[in-house]
């Protein structure tokens, strides 16, 4: 099993955002010791805005420090054989299999989605956690303890104010420039392929891409063929 890891966005705080650098460093260290193949480290300002160049650089440097200064990668799986880590690994595995059995009892993943099972389990866990925070049973540094009223002092990313106009104009020119016959043919072929269960749609989507069909136009054809999903009202 190969996996990518991202540090927890929900763990970032808007208050005292510099402290997020410390959280991210510790989370990233856990991901490395857990044996990840790929890692994204969140930027300190992500609870407030899109990451600035400055914040992104610190997040990247955090990985570089772990890789090149700490020595944690000098040996393979340094925590293996820890009584605690192995016991917790075993316990996690047992609890995962207990969930597999419950999902099987409902009839599998799709029926469990339609029954709202996963959604309800997550909502319950989330509610329990929030209550613990609200009661002060759980400390979030800078949020419900060690609070300061220091004003925020970090740079915030500024985006090109004309970006939207630029993008809309580019799309307009594309629609003028492209070959309308090719576009129509690509969409028709895609429409027919959607209706035939035995067709793989990728060659038709590639044909549409090469014909400069836009994302919205492609999706409109597929929406017509497949319909739209409505979440069950049970939750």
């Amino acid at each position: 099993m190969r996996f990518h890891t991202q540090t927890a966005g929900v763990a970032l705080t808007a208050q005292q955002p510099e402290v997020n650098v410390v959280r991210v460093a510790i989370q990233a260290l856990a991901a490395v010791l857990g044996g990840t193949q790929s890692l994204h480290t969140n930027s300190l300002d992500e609870a407030l805005a899109l990451p600035s160049e400055h914040a992104v650089r610190i997040a990247l440097r955090t990985q570089q420090v772990i890789a090149e200064e700490t020595g944690v990668a000098n040996t393979v799986d340094p925590l293996g054989g820890s009584y605690f880590v192995e016991a917790l690994t075993d316990q996690t595995e047992a609890e995962v299999y207990a969930y597999f059995r419950r999902i099987d009892e409902i009839g599998g993943v799709l029926p469990a989605i339609e029954a709202g099972f996963f959604q309800q389990e997550i909502a319950d866990a989330s509610y329990r956690h929030q209550q613990e925070v609200d009661r002060g049973d759980r400390t979030i540094v800078g949020v419900n303890r060690y609070v300061t009223d220091e004003p925020l002092n970090i740079p915030i990313l500024e985006m090109d104010p004309n970006g939207y106009q630029r993008q809309v104009e580019r799309l307009r020119r594309l629609r003028e420039r492209r070959d309308p016959v090719r576009v129509e043919q690509a969409l028709n072929r895609l429409r027919n392929a959607c209706d035939d269960q035995h067709e793989n749609l990728m060659p038709y989507l590639l044909d549409a891409a090469r014909s400069d069909v836009t994302l919205g136009e492609t999706m409109a054809v597929m929406k017509q063929a497949f319909g739209l999903y409505q979440e069950p009202m049970s939750i």
């Binding site: 991901a31 009584y83 993943v109």
Partner: protein, 325 residues
């Protein structure tokens, strides 16, 4: 590990003696700070772990050496000594030109792999100029409405040298088609492209809610991409089965892992029904986990993840596992 029975009995007796003679007086003098110590996910944690907590552990069966079944200790024999993890910073905002500049900045600072964040209209399959997209442009990622936008996004970036991850789900196949078509226009054989499509629709229904089509046609689309990738882009990870968003929605670590692995097994079943060979497509299924604050809980989650997946592949689906797990 792998303990001698006699030694274990002796150890239990020693531990009981320690509890009476050392722990008891300590607790009398200085009680612990809390009645219960729990993880971020509310799992109770004991004061101390000793061989008595893993009495049946068998090193070769339960851990194995790194790079060998069941991969508890990792998928590479040399861990991160041989292959460094890929520093892959997720980035995207505004128009394609702005994100292209950010990608180049990240590469110049030592970032090793690209990861595209698309804006909300793109994630939901709308063009920037659609009425439904109004007010949402570029604020949580970059807008890509066409092949032309994709070409601007990757302008000057050597596709045959980088690996690119794209966080896109309902319209994943469409954006992938743009990426492949872009490579073709540059004269690059798509079979050489390396990267990852998130393409995990099940977790959208479960947690993130950025779905468009109903479950069955959505699963057909995912299976189409798995089939196409297996035949034509053998180095591309067609699905990144994601626990990240399940966790962000407030799940526990165990729920994150259980639901993600259940989703992964579902993609395997659909691909087998399509007639694909598990030894060909399964190695291209990758995973994506969250890493929260509770240090050891996260590490245990990742170690358990590898072991469960390896066992399910070998025992349930009879996959021949060679290296990497």
């Amino acid at each position: 590990m792998t303990f001698d029975r006699e030694k274990l009995t002796q150890h239990r007796a020693n531990r009981e003696a320690w509890e009476r003679e050392t722990l008891g007086p300590t607790l009398d003098k200085l009680p612990e700070r809390k009645d219960r110590f729990v993880t971020q996910s509310s799992v109770p944690i004991n004061r101390l772990y000793t061989p008595a907590d893993v009495p049946d552990h068998d090193y070769d069966r339960d851990l194995g050496n790194p790079g060998a079944y069941p991969f508890t200790r990792g998928i590479h024999a040399t861990g991160h000594r041989g292959r460094q993890w890929t520093m892959r910073m997720f980035a995207g905002f505004g128009v394609a030109e702005e994100t292209n500049a950010r990608f180049k900045y990240l590469i110049s600072e030592g970032n090793m792999g690209l990861s595209v964040a698309f804006d909300l209209p793109t994630l939901m399959g709308y063009d920037t100029d659609a009425p439904e997209a109004l007010g949402e442009f570029g604020s949580c990622g970059v807008a890509v409405s066409s092949l032309e936008d994709m070409e601007i996004l990757f302008d000057g970036i050597p596709l045959e040298q980088v690996t690119t991850s794209m966080t896109i789900n309902s319209p994943a196949a469409v954006l992938w088609a743009y990426y492949i078509a872009m490579a073709e226009k540059r004269g690059i054989d798509p079979a050489r492209l390396r990267g990852t499509l998130q393409n995990d629709i099940l977790k959208e229904f479960i947690a993130q809610k950025e779905y468009v089509f109903p479950p069955k046609p959505s699963m057909r689309l995912v299976t189409d991409t798995i089939e196409y990738g297996t035949r034509h882009l053998p180095e591309w990870n067609t699905v990144s089965i994601s626990g990240y968003h399940i966790r962000e929605a407030g799940s526990t670590a165990v729920q994150e892992l259980a639901f993600t692995l259940a989703d992964g097994l579902e993609y395997v079943r659909w691909s087998l029904e399509r007639g694909l060979d598990i030894d060909e497509f399964a190695p291209r299924l990758s995973f994506f986990f969250n890493c929260h604050n509770d240090f050891f809980e996260e590490i245990a989650k990742m170690r358990a993840a590898r072991r469960i997946w390896a066992r399910e592949m070998r025992e349930t689906f009879k996959r021949v596992i060679r290296g990497r797990g």
